[in-house]
């Protein structure tokens, strides 16, 4: 038996953690960000020879350096957060809506169409400005919702794959926008629409004070709180989580699964439509095929990182927008290739997503081997009573762990 003491114990083995305290998960996430910054610093020094502290400073000044930069940061956050809010209920229902791009484009296109077609009526005084804006709001929400309704209907009725369907709808939306851009191009042959109603500002969303982006930010903040309450406290929010967890359970308690799928996607599409409206009516005052700038996909990451919690999404949006604004800044200040900013963004995201592993699992390292310990007979435990109690609590938990693992 002595010889056997030199058995090979694996260097590391991994077990799933039981309940993870909030504090521990916050500490692990914070450690991940610190580690990410250190790795970024090393990479920066090795690849570019720049001082990493300067680079980080530039990232921050790129995001917060001037009041204007802070407003742009706020605006970028608002739009990205808006799209993420739209995806949250669908994802919570396990309906993988990858059609955010298309739904934003359709919302934007509808807003632009109202501005172009009805703008002259406002100019001539035949229609008040508020009425046009109201029509735009309805049209954008309707268009976004329609674009989400189509795949939802097919999913509910015939069980089609929503991932592919919503993805394909993006291309259709892009082509539709491309068609109308040519139809309405100004001047003819320019291949773009340009600023719509530049002189009359018909259909431009109102500017609060002097702050061009404030309206967007307020609208999205209201939506955030609304979505948080909807998901957490409303009956509809409860229904969609039940459908997401188990359609059979939903059927069993009499939830109309088809209705919930369609209703949830209408909400999802509608909010994407709002994002399109805010972009076209609020800031850009024009429409292009690239107006959503990939936010329909970036929002997927925002929503996942925050586990579909709208309040958590404020932070994940902030992080992603901060990184992308900072990446732009360092590429100009240090005249580096823009890809360098993306490399840093990638490193930071890698650490943040990777930290989830350490939150859910524990790693044990090989302990120094005590040869006689295993053979020793354990002495009578004076705390037997207490131990029994712990064991009683343990049995349920242990069972569930093993169940989970076998799954």
């Amino acid at each position: 038996m002595k010889a056997d003491a030199k058995k090979k114990e694996p260097l590391i083995h991994i077990t799933r953690r039981k309940d993870v305290s909030l504090l521990r998960s916050i500490v692990i996430r914070a450690a991940a960000i610190v580690l990410a910054l250190i790795v970024c610093a090393l990479v920066t020094t090795f690849l570019t020879g720049e001082n990493p502290i300067d680079v980080f400073g530039t990232i921050l000044s790129g995001a917060f350096g001037t009041p204007r930069k802070m407003w742009v940061l706020g605006q970028e956050m608002a739009i990205l957060l808006c799209v993420s809010l739209a995806l949250a209920p669908a994802f919570k229902m396990k309906f993988w809506n990858l059609g955010g791009e298309g739904q934003i484009l359709m919302g934007g296109l509808a807003a632009a169409a109202c501005m172009i077609l009805l703008g002259s009526k406002v100019e001539s005084g035949a229609m008040p400005q508020w009425l046009l804006i109201l029509i735009m709001v309805v049209a954008s929400i309707g268009a976004g919702a329609l674009w989400a309704f189509i795949p939802a209907f097919f999913k509910a009725k015939w069980g089609t794959n929503e991932t592919l369907f919503t993805l394909m709808m993006n291309y259709v939306a892009t082509q539709l926008v491309a068609y109308f851009v040519i139809l309405w191009e100004v001047p003819k042959g320019a291949g773009k629409i340009g600023i719509i109603n530049q002189s009359s500002e018909a259909g431009w969303l109102p500017v609060i004070g002097d702050y061009k982006y404030l309206l967007n930010i307020i609208v999205v903040l209201v939506l955030t709180v609304g979505m948080y309450v909807y998901l957490k406290y409303s009956k509809q929010g409860y229904e969609l989580s039940v459908v997401g967890e188990s359609e059979r359970t939903a059927n069993y308690v009499g939830i109309n699964v088809k209705k919930v799928i369609i209703r949830t996607m209408l909400i999802s599409g509608a909010i994407c439509g709002v994002a399109g409206l805010l972009l076209v009516g609020g800031t850009d005052h024009t429409v292009t095929t690239t107006i959503s700038a990939g936010r329909g996909f970036t929002a997927v990451m925002v929503a996942w990182l925050a586990k579909f919690n709208p309040l958590g999404m404020i932070f994940t949006t902030f992080l992603l927008v901060l990184l992308s604004r900072g990446a732009n800044e360092i590429s100009t200040v240090f005249s580096l290739n823009k890809s360098f900013g993306d490399i840093l963004t990638g490193i930071i995201l890698f650490f943040i997503i990777g930290s989830e592993f350490f939150i859910n699992y524990q790693i044990h390292f090989r302990k120094s081997h005590k040869p006689e310990a295993a053979a020793a007979v354990p002495a009578e435990d004076p705390h037997k009573e207490a131990l029994e109690q712990i064991l009683r609590d343990a049995e349920t938990a242990a069972q569930s762990v093993s169940k989970e693992e076998t799954k």
């Binding site: 038996m1 056997d4 003491a5 058995k7 090979k8 114990e9 694996p10 083995h13 077990t15 799933r16 953690r17 039981k18 309940d19 406290y233 409303s234 009956k235 509809q236 409860y238 229904e239 989580s241 039940v242 967890e245 188990s246 059979r248 359970t249 059927n251 069993y252 308690v253 009499g254 524990q362 044990h364 310990a373 295993a374 354990p378 029994e388 712990i390 064991l391 009683r392 609590d393 343990a394 049995e395 349920t396 938990a397 242990a398 069972q399 569930s400 762990v401 093993s402 169940k403 989970e404 693992e405 076998t406 799954k407």
Partner: protein, 509 residues
């Protein structure tokens, strides 16, 4: 026995999950050519212990010896290399591949399917398996799939086999066949560890019984020198009565009237044909039958979850007026004022939402109440606390996800919710499946309390011993038809067994 060399020995094995101790200083010995039954309540650490042997977990402390040599099992591959084969409750087979392909999957070396198929045939012949190596998995029955799992580990040369509740998915006849095979393997010198909750199987198949309780090894017995009662007492840690009560029905009235019920599944296959019966208040009507004889469809049709071809499903009020439940959704049935509760067979996939906590699961039935667009969270939380207290659910809190509870506690939560609405009809499907003795008796008591309260209970069961002891009347299903209804007090197990396969059934097939 002492002079034999153990083929497998675990010494002082301890496994913790966080500050929870799943296995505490467990020592276990297995000799070649013997069948060891591992007995213990849910959560006593049986599965964890076996997962340590199969390389899924690594123990925190302790030693494992195989054929006298100390070994370290840090992965399933290590376990294979030591000739340990585990047959899990949930099969791990690729449906679209053939038996042979599944068996050789992942093996190193040159792929020779013909040779493999021949070897598989040889193994089948040697031990008495009935399986065609060229058949695709999706064509196989549950018991054949289990056979493939066993052949798989034998093909890989295992001589220590671990079976985790192998009979849970089998009919009584299939279980008998499996046991014959296990005896053959034992004769051939293999050592077998079998985990089961069914006491008569333990007595029937094992040579020795090892008992675990709350993560600790308690004792072991030579099977021929012990009794089911002694084993149960040791397993639970105190003396328990193995008798199920059957109080006389109080003032039974017709409550549920079913006539000519016929149901087809999605593929258009008849699952129920012309089923007729009456369930009475204050009475337990048992439903017996081989798995898949239409039990699930019957309960789901009554609960409004299964489309019905034709037939009558009437709910009869206290004053005798019948109301049709046919083609009504669960919500419509509820709106009619009929309080019908249903404990489905698939607890976490249908009756409950595993990722939601106790309180949110209580809400499943009640969340629609009231006109507010917001959910009422206070009442479900109060109900959850009440269920935890009254049914002695072992849970850290009512905010714990249900999937983290053990099987028995999950079932208590589900049954607790379903009886909370003071039902007049209670449908239960396999209410004690996978539950240990203690939890099972808790459930029988709960059902009997509902019976005393005048609820009409339909109890779908698989253990004939239990059906015969618990139920007032037993309806026997065979292939979707009623082959007879017998009185529980005078029922004979063998007779019911025959009726399940239609031999000697009351009706012509």
């Amino acid at each position: 026995m002492e002079e034999r060399t153990p083929i497998l020995e675990m010494r002082h094995v301890t496994k913790r999950f966080g500050n929870i101790i799943a296995n505490d200083d467990v020592s276990l010995t297995l000799y070649p050519g013997e069948i060891l039954a591992l007995l213990g309540e849910n959560g006593s650490g049986k599965t964890t212990l076996m997962n340590i042997l199969s390389g899924i977990y690594y123990p925190d402390e302790g030693q494992i010896f195989v054929e006298g040599k100390e070994v370290s099992i840090s992965s399933p591959k290590d376990s294979f290399d030591l000739k340990i084969g585990m047959i899990h409750q949930h099969f791990k087979l690729v449906d679209v591949m053939s038996v042979t392909e599944n068996i050789v999957l992942g093996l190193p070396g040159k792929l020779d399917l013909k040779q493999a198929a021949a070897d598989i045939r040889a193994i089948c012949e040697r031990y008495g398996f009935e399986v065609d190596p060229d058949e695709k998995i999706y064509n196989l029955s549950v018991s054949q799939k289990q056979t493939v799992e066993i052949v798989k580990v034998l093909f890989r040369g295992a001589n220590i086999l671990i079976l985790d509740e192998p009979t849970a998915v089998l009919t009584p006849q299939e279980a008998v066949k499996l046991f014959a095979i296990l005896r053959n393997m034992k004769e051939a010198g293999h050592a077998i560890i079998i985990i089961t909750h069914k006491m008569h199987e333990v007595m029937d198949i094992s040579d020795r019984v090892a008992i675990l309780r709350k993560g600790r090894y308690i004792t072991s017995f030579v099977t021929t020198e012990t009794t089911a009662q002694e084993l149960t007492d040791n397993m639970v840690g105190r003396a328990v009565s193995l008798n199920i009560e059957r109080p006389e029905p109080v003032d039974p009235k017709d409550r549920l009237f079913i006539q000519g019920l016929t149901v087809k599944n999605e593929e258009g296959v008849y699952k129920l044909r012309d089923v007729s019966f009456t369930a009475r208040s204050g009475e337990i009507l048992g439903i017996a039958g081989i798995a898949g004889s239409g039990q699930r469809e019957l309960l789901e049709a009554i609960a409004g979850l299964q489309p019905v071809e034709y037939g009558i499903i009437n709910y009869i009020d206290d004053d005798g007026t019948p109301e049709s439940l046919l083609k009504k959704t669960p919500v419509e049935i509820q709106a009619m004022g009929v309080s019908l509760s249903f404990v489905p067979e698939d607890r976490l996939g249908m009756g409950l939402v595993g990722n939601m906590d106790l309180s949110e699961n209580m809400m499943l039935r009640s969340y629609r109440e009231g006109h507010s667009i917001f959910t009422n969270r206070r009442d479900p939380a109060a109900l959850a606390r009440q269920v935890v207290e009254e049914l002695e659910v072992s849970t850290p809190s009512i905010n714990t996800a249900v999937r983290k509870l053990s099987g028995g506690n999950v079932q208590k939560v589900l049954v607790g919710r379903e009886i909370a609405s003071a039902p007049t009809v209670l449908l239960t499907a396999y209410a004690v499946r996978g539950l240990d003795i203690n939890a099972s008796y808790t459930i029988y008591n709960l059902i009997n309390r509902q019976k005393a309260a005048g609820v009409a209970i339909v109890f779908v069961g698989e253990d004939l011993d239990v059906l015969v002891e618990l139920c007032d009347r037993i309806l026997v299903l065979c292939d979707g038809r009623v082959s007879g209804i017998v009185d529980g007090k005078t029922a004979d197990k063998n007779e019911i067994g025959m009726m399940m396969t239609h031999v000697g059934g009351a009706h012509e097939g």
